[in-house]
């Protein structure tokens, strides 16, 4: 019973955060709205006994990604007035149809066992601990995991290579130590 209450509260918080994210005039408030939603999601993970995922959710998304967002927003300057004229015709109508479709898909998917996974996983109190996650990452899905790692490394190296040797390469101004 208490879980239902908590879920209701945090679901409302998550939705409120999402609405703030979309409607806030100021990008800093948008970032804060997204942060609130991420926290609420981390709490959902805790309720599902996935403590590791919850910790990583906060550490990576709330901790690193959103801080960078905020940093960039502040660097670019938050005082710029945003153009509020809608450029895509029928924008709201299309959004409404897509949102309705998504809602239907979610409701239908919620009835499938392979999505909700209620009894598909093993012992319920072990799901989401570090050991279980490590077992899946480094046991069952090693190849997929390593390919992802490889892909991300390629992307990182590619970014550096473009910055250094690309058409608009930054001229090396070596001023790191000295002074």
């Amino acid at each position: 019973m208490i879980e239902v209450f908590l879920f209701a509260i945090f679901a409302l918080v998550a939705l409120a955060g999402a609405v703030v994210m979309l409607t806030a005039r100021n990008p800093v408030y948008s970032a804060m709205g997204l942060l609130v939603t991420m926290f609420a999601m981390a709490l959902f993970y805790v309720m599902l006994d996935a403590h590791f995922v919850a910790a990583v959710q906060i550490l990576v998304y709330a901790g690193a990604v959103m801080t960078l967002f905020l940093f960039v927003i502040m660097m670019i300057g938050v005082d710029k007035k945003e153009e509020r004229v809608e450029t895509i015709p029928f924008q709201r109508g299309i959004t409404f149809v897509v949102a309705l479709g998504l809602a239907v898909v979610i409701i239908l998917a919620g009835r499938q066992a392979w999505v909700t996974g209620s009894d598909a996983f093993g012992s319920p109190d072990m799901v989401g601990t570090i050991e279980t996650v490590a077992d899946s990452l480094f046991g069952t899905w090693t190849i997929a995991f390593l390919s992802t790692v490889f892909l991300l490394t390629i992307a990182a190296v590619g970014t550096v290579a473009l910055a250094m040797f690309g058409p608009t390469a930054v001229q090396s101004t070596d001023e790191e130590e000295g002074a």
Binding site: N26, V28, Y29, M32, L35, H51, F52, A54, A55, V56, I58, L59, A62, G63, A64, T67, L68, L70, F71, M74, M75, V78, T129, I130, E176, E177, A179
Partner: protein, 346 residues
């Protein structure tokens, strides 16, 4: 229901402890720095001036809380609370003494032990940056904004170093539960040397240096460098809201020292002897002795080293601390591999 009561009592004790310790640390810092600078520091309020912090706190409570006209009011008011929350929450997973068995129930001297304790600590300490960044931005004033941009860059950089410094600790303990890490340090080498993680010396050094940066203390106090940017992020704050920032800062100092002790100096481990009550009390005493030794180190460094320049700070974080931690992780992995599987050619 009983679990709930025990947890509630623990939380209350933990918070009361934090606030009392902060009073003590602020006084100790002012006195110690004063002695290092050939002054006396506060001596009037109470014995040795120990009540000075209390008096200052009372004074701040009665001061006017100003809100600048350009401030973003909502975030401006929320930021001090956001600073205090993670500072208080991190302490909940630190064990301050050995588990106590009364009757057939065992009480841990830790509010809660999480399976992902280390990650919880890292996650919450990465939350601290929001308060500072938002406080600076929401003040609607240029020096706080400069301070908060500095804070964002500095804390992201040194968070990475802290995380990497903890990897060998987790590998040696084989767990991310903080109680587990402390217990893993309870063993001894050769029967008398305590098996504390201080043997992971490079990790310890990187962790302590990064802890200075995470708590925004000298020599990394660029976030609130008085000589350059007035007071940094808290320039516009006054009265009780300033007190909250101040409190959060010193709670962070205590928590970081306690974490250093927990991860590297054996936590509450230490010799115990005598009757049962002494066996219960001694680990707590060991824990606080070690923690205050680290806090003394923090104060000592503040009284000794000048502030670093901003580019030096960044270069040091990314080009020294992080490569050293990465290299050390690889070495530690090799050492663990040899210990478990023997030498490759043997």
């Amino acid at each position: 229901m009983e679990d709930f009561i025990v947890a509630a009592v623990k939380v209350v004790i933990a918070f009361a402890l934090l606030f009392m310790v902060v009073l003590l640390i602020v006084w100790a810092e002012r006195r110690i720095v004063a002695f290092m600078q050939n002054r006396l520091g506060p001596t009037r309020a109470g014995p040795f001036g120990i009540l000075q912090t209390l008096a200052d706190g009372m004074k701040l409570l009665f001061k006017e809380s100003l809100t600048p006209r350009n401030a973003e009011v909502f975030l401006y008011l929320a930021a001090p609370v956001m600073a205090l929350l993670p500072a208080l929450l991190i302490f909940l997973v630190i064990p301050i003494g050995a588990p106590i068995t009364i009757g057939d129930t065992t009480y841990t001297l830790q509010v809660t032990d999480l399976n992902v304790g280390v990650l919880y600590v890292l996650a919450l300490s990465s939350m601290a940056v929001y308060a500072i960044t938002l406080a600076g931005w929401a003040s609607g004033s240029k020096y706080p904004l400069l301070g908060s941009v500095r804070a964002a860059a500095q804390m992201i950089s040194y968070e990475a170093a802290i995380g990497l410094a903890l990897v060998p600790v987790i590998m040696f303990a084989g767990t991310t539960s903080i109680a587990g890490i402390v217990e893993a340090q309870g063993a001894t080498y050769f029967g008398f040397l305590p098996a504390w993680n201080i043997v992971l010396l490079p990790s310890f050094v990187v962790f302590v240096i990064a802890a200075f940066a995470e708590t925004n203390r000298a020599p990394f106090d660029l976030v609130e460098a008085e000589q350059e940017i007035v007071g940094g992020f808290h320039t516009e704050y006054s009265g009780f809201r300033f007190a909250l920032f101040f409190l959060a800062e010193y709670i962070n100092l205590f928590t970081m020292s306690a974490l250093t002790v927990t991860f590297f100096l054996g936590g509450w481990n230490g010799p115990t002897f005598g009757p049962t009550w002494l066996v219960w009390i001694l680990p707590v005493i060991w824990f606080f002795v070690k923690t205050f030794a680290i806090i003394f180190l923090f104060i000592w460094v503040r009284g000794t080293l000048p502030r670093m320049r901003y580019d030096q700070l960044m270069a040091f974080g990314w080009k020294r601390l992080i490569p050293v931690s990465l290299a050390w992780i690889i070495l530690a992995m090799i050492a663990m591999g040899i210990r478990r599987y023997g030498l490759p050619w043997a």
